[in-house]
Point group: C2
Chain length 258, copies 2
C-alpha cells in the first residue's frame, strides 16, 4: 500500500510536532510520499519582507513577488529541512517541486470570479518518475509549487491538499493500491467544532451530503473533503483525515472516507 | 563527455544574462549538470530581512538564521526558477540540494582559525544517483546546500565552486569522461586585471605556480583555481574558466586548465 501523507504549514514550524511526526512517518512501512504545505511560514516571511499577504477563502492571491517568496519558503527552507531530518532518520528522502523532472503540471486558475494570480491546479503527475524513485527506495517530499502545463516555464503556487490528492489519484489510476492521509490540527472531521472528541469515524458520499446540508461540515473542510472524494473517484483505496500526531494509530485515530 | 557547468549568483538574477546562458546550456549536447550559486540574491534577501550579511575572504559566515535564508534562496527560488526555465527549453531538469537523495555530503569546517558556522566542504557525491538520473536523460541542477556527513541531519552552506569540483571529480573517478566549466564575470583568467582582453588561454600546474609567484593571480581567483586543479587531480579531463556568455565558443573562449 503506497501512503501519501500531507502535513500543513502549522506543524512544519513547530519543532516538537514536526520531529514527532517525521519520526512516526519514518517508521511507516512500505512506499510513502510526503506532501507539505507551509502557508504559515510564507505569511510570516512575506510580512517580514514588507509585503501584505492576501488571501481569499483560505487560498493565497499570488503576484510575482509573492511567488518568489512562497517558492523560497516551500521548495527551499521547509522542503530541505524536512528532507535533511528524514535523512537523519534513515529515510532516503528527495525533495521535489512540480517543476523538478516535470513531476506535477498544473493549469493556471481562471481569473474569474477571483484572480488568484500565479496559482494553478494539478492536471498531470509524472507517475513514471514517481515509480522509478519509489523503486529506488526513495521517499519523495513534495513542495506545493507546480509548473504551468502550457510549456510557459511558469511556476505556479498550488494548494498542498490538491497536490496530495493529485499524486494519490494518479498512482491509483496506474493500478497502485494507494492511501491518502491528510494531517491537520484536529483529530479528524468533527461533528461539533466545539468538541474535539466528536470525531466522525467514517464518512461516505451519502453522509457527506447530509453533513453539508445540516451545516456540520463547512468552511475550509469542504475543499479538503472534495479533494478527498476526488481521489476516491480515481481509485484511491482510502482517505483518512487525522492529526499529525496519530498516523501510527489504527485508522490514524481520525475520520476515514470511502 | 559529461559537462559540469557552474554559474555564479551574479548572473542568475540578471534576466538577459540568465536567459541567454540557459538557452546556450540547453543546446549543449550530451550529459550535463548545472551548479549554481546565488550569493548576491542571498545577501539582498538577508538585508531585506534585517540581517547583517557577514563574509570572510569571500565566504559567508553562516549562523542558523542565515542558513534558513540561503537555503530558501539557493534551493528555493533560484533553483526552481532555473529548473522551470530549463523545462521550458525542453531540458528535463531536476533541482537537488545535497540533502536530496543524499546527493552531496560535507564536512563541517573547523572553527579554527575562522568559525564560519554552518558551512561545509564536500566529502561525498552519490555518483550512483547521478548516473541513474543522467541515464533517465535528466539534467541535475545542484544548489550549494549540502548535508553534514555525520548523520546529524544538519544542512550546511557550501561554496558552489567546491560543489561543482566535487561532482566533476567524483564522476571522473567513476571513469566518466568529464569536463568542468566555471562561468564567471570575466572572459577567463586575466594576465592583467585591468585588461579584459588579456585572457590567458591555458594554465598548467607549472604556469599556475609562476602566475601566483608573480602576483598576476590573486584573491578570489586562487580558491577557484585550487578547486579546478583538485578536479584535475581526480581525473577531470579539462577545466575551463570563462564567461557565462561564451560556453558555446571553442574552448568556451576562456582559460583552459589541464
Amino acid at each position: 500500500m503506497l501512503k501519501i501523507v500531507k502535513i500543513g504549514g502549522n506543524i512544519v514550524e513547530d519543532p516538537g510536532k514536526i520531529d514527532k511526526f517525521l519520526s512516526d512517518f519514518a517508521s511507516l512501512k512500505g512506499d510513502k510520499i510526503l506532501v507539505h504545505g507551509g502557508g504559515v511560514v510564507a505569511t510570516d516571511m512575506l510580512k517580514k519582507l514588507g509585503y501584505e499577504p492576501k488571501m481569499h477563502l483560505g487560498r493565497r492571491i499570488t503576484n510575482p513577488a509573492t511567488l518568489r517568496v512562497v517558492t523560497s519558503v516551500y521548495a527551499g527552507v521547509i522542503n530541505k529541512s524536512i528532507v535533511a531530518k528524514l535523512q537523519k532518520l534513515g529515510v532516503n528522502a528527495i525533495g521535489l517541486s512540480g517543476a523538478d523532472g516535470g513531476f506535477i503540471l498544473s493549469k493556471r486558475r481562471s481569473t474569474v470570479p477571483i484572480n488568484y494570480g500565479l496559482v494553478g491546479d494539478p492536471t498531470y503527475v509524472d507517475t513514471t518518475l514517481t515509480r522509478i524513485l519509489l523503486d529506488l527506495k526513495m521517499t519523495i517530499v513534495a513542495a506545493p509549487i507546480t509548473l504551468e502545463n502550457t510549456g510557459s516555464g511558469q511556476l505556479l503556487n498550488t494548494n498542498a491538499d490538491t497536490v496530495a490528492s493529485a499524486i494519490a489519484g494518479a498512482m491509483a489510476e496506474m493500478g497502485v493500491e494507494t492511501e491518502l492521509i491528510y494531517c491537520f490540527e484536529e483529530r479528524g472531521v468533527l461533528l461539533d467544532m466545539g468538541d474535539e472528541d466528536s470525531v466522525i469515524p467514517s464518512i461516505n458520499r451519502n453522509s457527506y451530503a447530509s453533513l453539508k446540508d445540516s451545516g456540520a461540515i463547512f468552511g475550509g473542510m469542504l475543499p479538503k473533503l472534495d479533494n478527498a472524494f476526488k481521489a476516491i473517484d480515481k481509485g484511491v483505496a482510502r482517505v483518512v483525515i487525522c492529526s499529525a500526531g496519530s498516523i501510527l494509530e489504527p485508522g490514524c485515530g481520525g475520520t476515514t472516507l470511502q
